[in-house]
Amino acid sequence: MSSSDEGLRDTGLDSVRLHDWLSRTWDHKRGLVGWFSTVDHKVIGRRYIITALFFLALGGLAAAIMRLQLARPENTIVGPDLYNQLFSMHGTTMMFLFAVPVMEAFAIYLVPLMVGTRAIAFPRLNAFSYYVFLMGGLMMWIAFAFNTGAEAGWFSYVPLAGPEFSPGKRTDFWAQMITFTEVAALSVAVVVIVTVFKQRAPGMTLNRIPLFVWSELVTSFVVLFAMPAVMMASTMLILDRLVGTHFFNPAEGGDALLWQHLFWFFGHPEVYIIFLPATGMVSAILPAFTRCPVFGYTAIVLSLIATGFLAFGLWVHHMFVAGLPQLGSSFFTASSMVIAIPSGIQIFCWIATLWLGSPVYRTPLLFVLGFIVIFVLGGLTGVMAAAVPIDAQIHDSYFIVAHFHYVLVGGAVFPLVGAIYYWYPKATGRMMSERLGRWHFALAFITFNAAFFPMHILGLAGMPRRVYTYPAEAGWSAMNLVVSLASLAFAFSFVLLAWNMMRSLRHGTPAGPNPWTAGTLEWATPSPPPPYNFARIPVIDNVEPLWRGNGSPAGEVSGLRVDARELLVTTLTEAMPDLREPSPADSIWPLLAAVAVGATFFGSIFTPWAVIWGLGPVAVTLIGWFWPKGAPEDE
């Protein structure tokens, strides 16, 4: 046997010594360097979630200022230039800095716990992705503070975003922020896929994977195929702007619609990148509060996969008024309607679960019910907008604003908030206040509908999107005032959430390992989970392994090292034990690499030579990252 096969094993260790050894091996070091060096997926996941919620607050503030401006006709709180930046920053922030990262962050925190492993795959890449994401988001908002915010909408259409109509650096910051966030998102996608493929607990065959994990797996594949499109597009845009290429310049053989095709080839799957994890959250919350496994497990998995595929066949429905051939439009109308089928199947499965189970109406379930109502409404207006003649009428109107807020807030934010209430006890060890949670739900549900339902009517009445004001004679004043008041109240509902989260951190009732008596593996470990996740890796024989007679998994694994970070690697489909692979130790190098990459991207906004200068530091930090340093995990 080689030296790497030696080392202290867990076999025969009693639970106290096991805990001591595993803590010593897996915990990160104290102090600033330790703080920046940790690769623990729970720590990184928590930072991701908090950062994404911080950007949600910034994006929400931008929305609140817009609604103040629109509360009255011909209002003068902000002018057209700032308004352009506000709606661009709002949309960009919500999509790129909040929704996608927060959904991936839940995967980072939960997937390793739910599949029963000690760490995420490629934990240093995971940490790297967080720092890149953080820098990209901060860069864009700091630029905004210096009056250099994005100004051409969250999809930055050319020629509006091109060198001619968007001079200065505003759109360059937008385009490079895209590069930052997509590098982060793509890294996380690979990390999640490999964790699910190779690190599942023994016995977790494909048909025993928790539905939330399935949803994050499918989402990660959608990310792999969708995100390169927007990176390509934003790279072309910044090249057009900075070095004089002509991708989107019709005068020199370029084409503005190329931007739209590339952007929406990413942009439509993006909706499902946000929505699919939310459906996974619903499928995780429902069984815990109905005491009944989700109805139609196989149907839901197939629906998730079908949605993932169909997501790539819809992009042109964002371009119905761009003058494309009619046959093409008809095809995309049909495909846009087809995708309602798998989503419909999921909704019927959830209703059946509620029907068959005995629902306990706690806050997480309330948000799931709110989701079902709001998302169905948004889905219905989606089927309407999929028809070319209707789309031609309502395009660029507030009807579309209403539609996508119903789909995105209803379809993603409501399940997300439910998920926060549901998994908060796991992450912190304390329950959130149920009473405050119910008030929060009631306020959020009522004010969301009060804010966004009238937008349908405003749109049908002709109010266009992205106008900084409107004349009193248009007859939209009363409804806009209602929308603005309700929006502010909706924003306040998030203050309740934030207050509940902060207060419960100290004053919440201790949760214990499994406060909801749920069935999946993350509840088999203490709350909050120790750095090593599981003292012994569980063996499972069921999709809800904790719902067996005695409330614990079918068995446990022994023979793993405790004096070095070691993971159990299993086979792809059957999850049979195959290898004991080391898991990388903490390292400062992912942060340094992220700083080098970030400085390169940032510098490239000002000079293309930054890419050349950046090569050296990037190479040095990557070598520092990968070069073995004699830790037992490197051997």
Partner: protein, 200 residues
């Protein structure tokens, strides 16, 4: 939980090759997303071509020689690359070392030829959209070529240290070889698009 562990896994090996190992799946993941990037760039090329009445836009196609020589050399490099992967699997460290030195030299030579390619494209990136897209295609592939050559050189240095005998490091050699295969095979459609589509 019961105190009695059920499944003793102390006999499991600590490293494996190919699809058994997590790192290989990570490599596949990155290959998949980068291949998507190449496919989209090629798609953008044909989209721009379809929007133009003449192609290439008022310039002559790139000279064939450097690109063709590079293509043949890259295809030839698949042979030593294949053997290095096999040597790594069979734990033949000396053979791996020699092979990696060879691949490092080949890689640097390929980068030199690649530099010549840029010189004979016969169009600048800022001349027109045709120039922009072929510069983008070539630069995108060069980024991958450069990355893998740098990776190969670092790996060569690593494998000459005491780490060279570790099974995990030999797994890294295999993954580097898998990535090299991708760099070579992904070049073929790009070569066809840059050099032959304008001649049709």
């Amino acid at each position: 939980m019961p105190d009695r562990p059920d499944l003793d896994l102390s006999h499991l090996p600590t490293a494996g090759f190919g699809s058994r190992s997590a790192i290989t799946w990570g490599t596949y993941g990155f290959i998949l997303l980068e291949a998507t990037g190449f496919a989209l760039a090629i798609g953008a090329y044909f989209y721009l071509q379809s929007r133009s009445s003449e192609w290439p836009l008022g310039v002559i196609p790139p000279d064939l020689e450097p690109g063709t020589i590079l293509t043949l050399a890259m295809l030839a490099s698949l042979v030593p690359n294949h053997f290095i992967k096999a040597f790594a699997r069979n734990h033949r460290v000396q053979a791996v070392r020699l092979g990696l030195v060879l691949m490092s030299v080949v890689g640097v030579a390929l980068l030199v030829i690649r530099a010549l390619e840029f010189a004979v494209l016969n169009v600048r990136w800022d001349t027109n959209a045709y120039g922009s897209i072929i510069w983008l295609l070539l630069a995108l592939h060069t980024l991958h070529l450069l990355t893998d050559v740098a990776d190969t050189i670092v790996l060569t240095a690593l494998i000459f240290t005491r780490h060279g005998h570790k099974k995990r490091r030999l797994g890294d050699v295999e993954d580097n070889g898998v990535y090299w295969d991708f760099v070579v095979w992904s070049w073929l459609p790009i070569y066809a698009v840059i050099y032959w589509v304008p001649r049709w």
